[in-house]
Amino acid sequence: MVGPSGAGKSTLLRLIAGLLTPASGRVSCGDELWFDGKRSTPPNRRGVGFVFQDYALFPHMSVRGNVAYGARIPVDPLLERIGIDHLAAAKPRGLSGGERQRVAVARALASEPRLLLLDEPLSALDPSTRGHIAEQLAAAIAAAQVPALIVTHSYEEAIALAADAIVLENGQITQRGQTAQLLRGPRTAFIAQFAGLNYLEGAASGRDVILDSGERIQLAEQATGRIAVLIAPWEITVHRDPAGDSSAQNNLTAPVASVLASGNRVRLVIGPLTAEITAESAERLGLERGQTVTASFKSTAIRTLALREG
C-alpha cells in the first residue's frame, strides 16, 4: 500500500488490526467478521501480526522474550530461521535498526498470524542497508506463507516487497494492480511521481501541448484541455548538439541544473525534465552542471493523464 503522507495508510492498518475502531463500515478477514458497525473483535482475538514503524519492541525483555511473548510456535527454530538466534539474550536497546526489524518480524510471525501488517518496515533503517534488508524481509514473508499488507513510501521498496499494490490517496483507493504496472499506467499525479516519472502539466490542443513552464511538446495522439504529460526518465536522450536526435519529435534545450550519480546510472535535471542516462554516456558527453544540453524524447514515449478543469 502506497500513498502520500496523510493519506490514511497507517490508520487503515490500525483499523484492520483493531487498534482503532471506525465510526462505520465493515472489517472482515476470510469468512470472519471483525467489525460490522456494532460489534468489534478485540485486537488480541484477530490473529493479526503487526510490525510497527519503530518496531515497538518491549524494552524490558530480551530478544527471545519479545519473540516468545505471543508465541504459538517454538521460538528457537524461528529465531534461527530469521537469523537472530545469536541475539536471543540481547536487549532491544543494543541492537541495530536491521536487527530490531528482524526481531519485530519474528515476534509477529511467532503468533502464527493469519495476516501480517507492516507499517513502513524499512523507513527506520539506514538507506545504505535498506536494499539488502528489503530482500531479507521479502524472503521472510514469502517463507511464512502469510498474506501481508505492507505500507511503504518508496517505489523501489514496493517493487522489492510486493507483486500487487494499492494506492491510497485521501482515504480513497485510486489505483490497484501489479506493482510494476503502476509505472506503465499511472492514474494520478501522485502515482506518476511515486513511480519516478516526469510529471508536467499543460494545456493540450490537437497534438500540441503547451506546458505551464512554457515549452511546447508534441504528442503521438490527439488530446484537448488540461493534461499532464508523463515521460519516464530513461526514455529521454541527452546531446550536446542543439540539433539533437533527428528521430525524436521533442527537443528541449536548457542548462543542466543537477547531476546525481546512482550506481551506473546518472540522473540529470534539465529544465523541467529529469533524465536518466548511463554513467558511460554521461562521461562520454562530459556533462557538468550549468552546461547547456538538449534533451530529446519520442512522442510515442509520452503518456498523458487528463486533468480535471480548474
Binding site: 487498534l19 510497527f52 515497538a56 515476534r107 509477529a108 503468533s111
Partner: protein, 239 residues
C-alpha cells in the same frame, strides 16, 4: 536539620519506650497506606493515562485535590464524613464500625493526603509509555490484563517506584489530617510526627531522636527516588 542531630541525646531519646511505639505505628500504618495506594492507584492511573473519556480532566483534578488541600481540612473532612456524628457515621455505627481514633483512621488520613502524589507520578509514568508497545501486546494475543502486568507496569516501573517512594514518605510525615481524624492515643494512633509534637511537652530528647530518624529516612527516600529517576524522563513534583 543539623540542629536536630546536635541539640539532644539521640541515645537517651531512643531509650524512651514511647518513641519506639510511635515509630512502629508510623511504619505499620504508612506501609498499609502505601499498599492501598499501589493497589488502587496503579490501575486508576493507567486508565487515566491511556484512555480518554468525558469528564476525565474533572476526575483527574478530583484525585489531585488533596495535594493542595490543607491537611487539617482533609482531617476535618474525614471526621465529618466518617465520624460518629458525620455524614456516614450512623450507617457505620449501625454496622458496628467505629473509624475515628483507630489505626484504620490513621491509614485513611495518610492515604487521603499521600495518594495524589503516587497517582500523579503514576499517570506521568504510564503516559510516557509508548502507546505502540501496548498496541503490540494486544496484536500478539494479549488481553488488557496481560498487557497491563507484562508491558505497561514493567516499562513504567521506575516512575511507579519513584511515585511510591514519594507517596510513602508523605504518608510517614502526615500530621495534620491524622491528629484531627485519628487523634493522638499513645500506643494506638500516636505516629512519630505526632509523638514529636507531643514530645515538646513530655521530653525533648525523644522528639529530637524521632526527628533525626525521620530526616534519615526522608533522605534515603529522596536519594532512591533520584536514582530511580536517573535516565528516565520523569516529571515528579515533590510536595
Amino acid at each position: 536539620m543539623i540542629a536536630i542531630f546536635t541539640q539532644g541525646s539521640l541515645r537517651n531519646g531512643l531509650q524512651q519506650p514511647g518513641a519506639w511505639t510511635a515509630l512502629k505505628i508510623s511504619f505499620e500504618t504508612s506501609t498499609i497506606s502505601l499498599a492501598l495506594m499501589i493497589l488502587f492507584g496503579t490501575p486508576i492511573s493507567f486508565v487515566l493515562a491511556t484512555t480518554s473519556f468525558p469528564g476525565k480532566t474533572l476526575l483527574t483534578t478530583l484525585f489531585e485535590l488533596p495535594l493542595v488541600l490543607p491537611p487539617a481540612v482533609a482531617g476535618l473532612g474525614l471526621l465529618m464524613a466518617f465520624g460518629r456524628f458525620g455524614l456516614l457515621g450512623s450507617q457505620l455505627s449501625a454496622l458496628g464500625i467505629e473509624l475515628p481514633f483507630t489505626k484504620a483512621a490513621v491509614v485513611m488520613a495518610m492515604t487521603f493526603v499521600a495518594s495524589p502524589l503516587y497517582v500523579r507520578q503514576a499517570i506521568a509514568a504510564f503516559g510516557s509509555v509508548d502507546p505502540d508497545l501496548l498496541a503490540a501486546s494486544r496484536t500478539l494475543g494479549a488481553g488488557p490484563a496481560k498487557t497491563f502486568f507484562r508491558v505497561a507496569v514493567p516499562v513504567a516501573l521506575s516512575g511507579l517506584s519513584a511515585g511510591a517512594a514519594l507517596g510513602w514518605a508523605r504518608a510517614l510525615g502526615e500530621f495534620g489530617a491524622t491528629i484531627l481524624f485519628a487523634g493522638s492515643l499513645q500506643g494506638r494512633t500516636e505516629t512519630a510526627p505526632i509523638a514529636i509534637y507531643l514530645g515538646l511537652e513530655q521530653g525533648l530528647d525523644q522528639a529530637l531522636a524521632l526527628g533525626a530518624l525521620l530526616i534519615t529516612v526522608s533522605a534515603i527516600v529522596l536519594v532512591s527516588v533520584k536514582l530511580l529517576a536517573r535516565g528516565n524522563a520523569l516529571r515528579f513534583m515533590p510536595g
